[in-house]
């Protein structure tokens, strides 16, 4: 119950921040729309049309009512509904982020486990070094390198455009591979680091020695017992990756010309189309709040001893480690 209240409060604060963004705009949006030579009367009319002459709280509550009922307004030119625009573009972003997440988990867990099992060996050093490098490489630069190498030079896969899996699966698979690798590499590196250090610690513990002593095969020791105990940090880092992936789509979609909400917010930012920016910011915040909730539920599944506290622990861990853009 307390958790639900806290989520609602966070959500409300998130909408205040989202709405407050437009108040940062220097100057008067009505003046910007009307143009510099407009009469004062015309500017006042536009201001009244946009509802900008009302108090901030009234404007906010009005926007909130719209947001809750699925009406995020129209673009600044008034030619399309923000919700429709986001609805059209969200599937591309979500499918791309999902593949990138899958890529990070498979590569990250695989590399992390391999390194932890060969703790101190050359393979371990190599994985650690590559993971350290992977965290430092900006995803869009990696995307550019991938475009040049695999797209323009080797011509293996397309480097621009997108298709949706339920429309043309083969085309989607071709289009999603390279951007998903560019987007997921940093996550794979972070997951590998976390899994490695968690697993190294678990493998040293007494109960693992007991399992080994009673003759359990290595595979069972690692995957059934050790990984279960090392999966708490894994769940945390995967939850964080979802936030990073959604943020990362902004620039990866621009590099690979993918029509998702990431490229939508970039276009809107350059055109100063605030209703669209607000809409995208709001929808992504909503997605992340849902992700955090899911992560909390998974925590309880992974470790039944945990009550409401993991949210706090997850937050702390996030504060200490998982900050990237």
């Amino acid at each position: 119950m307390q958790r639900a209240g806290s989520i609602v409060l966070t959500l409300v604060l998130a909408t205040v921040i989202t709405f407050g963004l437009q108040k940062l705009v220097p100057g008067d949006p009505a003046l910007a729309i009307a143009g510099e030579d407009a009469t004062a009367q015309r500017v006042a009319e536009i201001r009244a049309d946009l509802g900008l002459d009302r108090p901030f709280v009234v404007q906010y509550l009005d926007w909130l009512r719209g947001a809750v009922t699925g009406d995020l307004g129209t673009t600044i030119r008034g030619d399309a509904s923000v919700w429709d625009l986001i609805g059209q573009r969200l599937p591309a972003t979500l499918t791309l982020a999902a593949v990138a997440l899958l890529f990070s988990i498979i590569i990250g867990v695989g590399a992390g486990v391999a390194a932890a099992l060969r703790h101190g060996s050359k393979a371990d050093t190599a994985v650690t070094a590559v993971a350290t490098l992977g965290v430092a490489v900006p995803n869009f630069w990696l995307g550019m390198v991938i475009v040049v190498v695999f797209g323009l030079t080797l011509n293996w896969l397309p480097v621009s455009g997108y298709a949706l899996p339920w429309e043309d699966f083969a085309a989607w698979a071709r289009h999603v591979t390279l951007p998903a690798i560019a987007l997921g590499t940093a996550g794979a590196a972070e997951i590998a680091r976390q899994v490695r250090s968690a697993l190294v610690e678990v493998l040293r513990s007494d109960f693992i020695r007991t399992h080994r002593a009673k003759g359990l095969p290595q595979r069972a020791v690692v995957w059934r017992h050790a990984m279960k105990n090392a999966s708490l940090p894994l769940v945390t880092v995967v939850g964080l990756q979802i936030s990073h992936l959604l943020g990362g789509t902004v620039v990866i979609e621009s590099v690979f010309a993918i029509p998702g909400i990431g490229s939508l917010i970039v276009q809107s930012a350059n055109q100063r189309d605030y209703p669209v920016i607000q809409g995208v910011v709001f929808v992504t915040a909503l997605l992340i709040i849902l992700t955090n909730l899911a992560v909390d539920l998974v925590y309880r599944y992974v470790d039944p001893r945990i009550g409401v506290r993991p949210a706090r622990r997850a937050g702390l861990r996030r504060a200490q480690r998982g900050v990237t853009v």
């Binding site: 921040i17 101190g120 965290v135 630069w141 550019m144 040049v148 917010i265 605030y274 910011v281 702390l316």
Partner: protein
């Protein structure tokens, strides 16, 4: 301090310069190069970074232009050197903003606790539920493009993590006996926080600040790449990548100098943070070994 015992680990060390790990030497060397480029760009750059030479556009590297020229014939090496100052400044602005916001929030929440803590932490949670880049983009778009605006936006986005970290530190340190002693001597909260708690709570914050520098550097690159950061013709590593992207089919090599500069710099900041953490917390070193 030869044949001494390490203060941190209690393990006998060789002491002196030899005790400094190779990684630290590497980091210091890179930092020295970066500092020279940032402080003396005009002395090091062979050309004016903004001087166009339309007769020599997209030239390959040569003895005249070591890293070639860009799409309007500007010397890439000179722009790389000039961009060092902008990119590092961007990182420092973002970290400064995040500390200016995160430090007071974290201290107040951690020290006073109760409802003050609850309210501040809900606010922190609310900011944390935005993908940092998307929120930074929103702030930068609203406040207008430019280095300071976009980096202030990044600083705002990074500050909640710092606030949480500082809060956790303050919570831990304020229970220590020496703080209780200070309180029993009727020290005011201001004096307790600044004289007794903060000096003992800052180590992880410094480690985090080094990581943030790397994060902010990448954020600068992304925002400038998207046209919201540094505005042309000023050179930054991000704005160079943005131009390189536009001319990728003709001259893919243009993206390597700024890209590699970013990767190396971020790597160095991350390594410094790791080294600092090992120094402050010997257990981290044991885990690594």
């Amino acid at each position: 301090m030869s044949a001494s015992t390490s203060r941190v680990t209690g393990v006998p060390g060789t002491g002196g310069l030899r005790a400094v790990p190779l990684r630290l030497w590497l980091c210091l060397a890179v930092l020295a190069v970066l500092a020279c480029c940032a402080l003396l760009p005009n002395a090091l750059a062979p050309y004016d970074p903004n001087a166009q030479d339309l007769g020599n556009i997209l030239d390959s590297p040569s003895s005249a232009h070591w890293l070639g020229t860009d799409d309007v014939g500007r010397d890439v090496l000179s722009r790389l050197i000039a961009g060092t100052r902008t990119s590092l400044a961007a990182g420092f602005i973002a970290v400064a903003v995040s500390v200016l916001i995160g430090l007071p929030v974290g201290i107040v929440a951690g020290y006073f606790g109760g409802w003050v803590d609850a309210v501040l932490m809900r606010g922190v949670d609310a900011v944390l539920c935005f993908p940092p880049l998307i929120l930074a983009l929103g702030v930068a778009a609203a406040a207008g493009p430019g280095l300071v605006n976009s980096m202030a936006a990044v600083g705002i986005v990074l500050s909640p993590s710092l606030a949480r970290l500082i809060r956790a530190q303050v919570l831990a340190v304020k229970e220590r006996p020496y703080v209780e002693v200070a309180r029993s001597f009727s020290c005011g909260p201001f004096r307790i926080v600044f004289r007794h708690i903060l000096p003992n709570a800052m180590q992880p914050v410094l480690v985090q600040a080094a990581i943030f520098l790397g994060v902010a550097l990448i954020a600068e690159a992304i925002l400038s790449f998207l046209g919201l950061g540094v505005q042309p013709p000023a050179a930054s590593w991000g704005s160079m990548l943005s131009r390189a992207f536009a001319f990728m089919p003709q001259a893919p090599r243009l993206m390597f100098p700024p890209g590699i500069a970013i990767v190396v710099t971020v790597l160095v900041f991350n390594m410094i943070s790791d080294l600092a953490q090992e120094r402050f917390d010997p257990r981290a070193r044991d885990r690594r070994a």
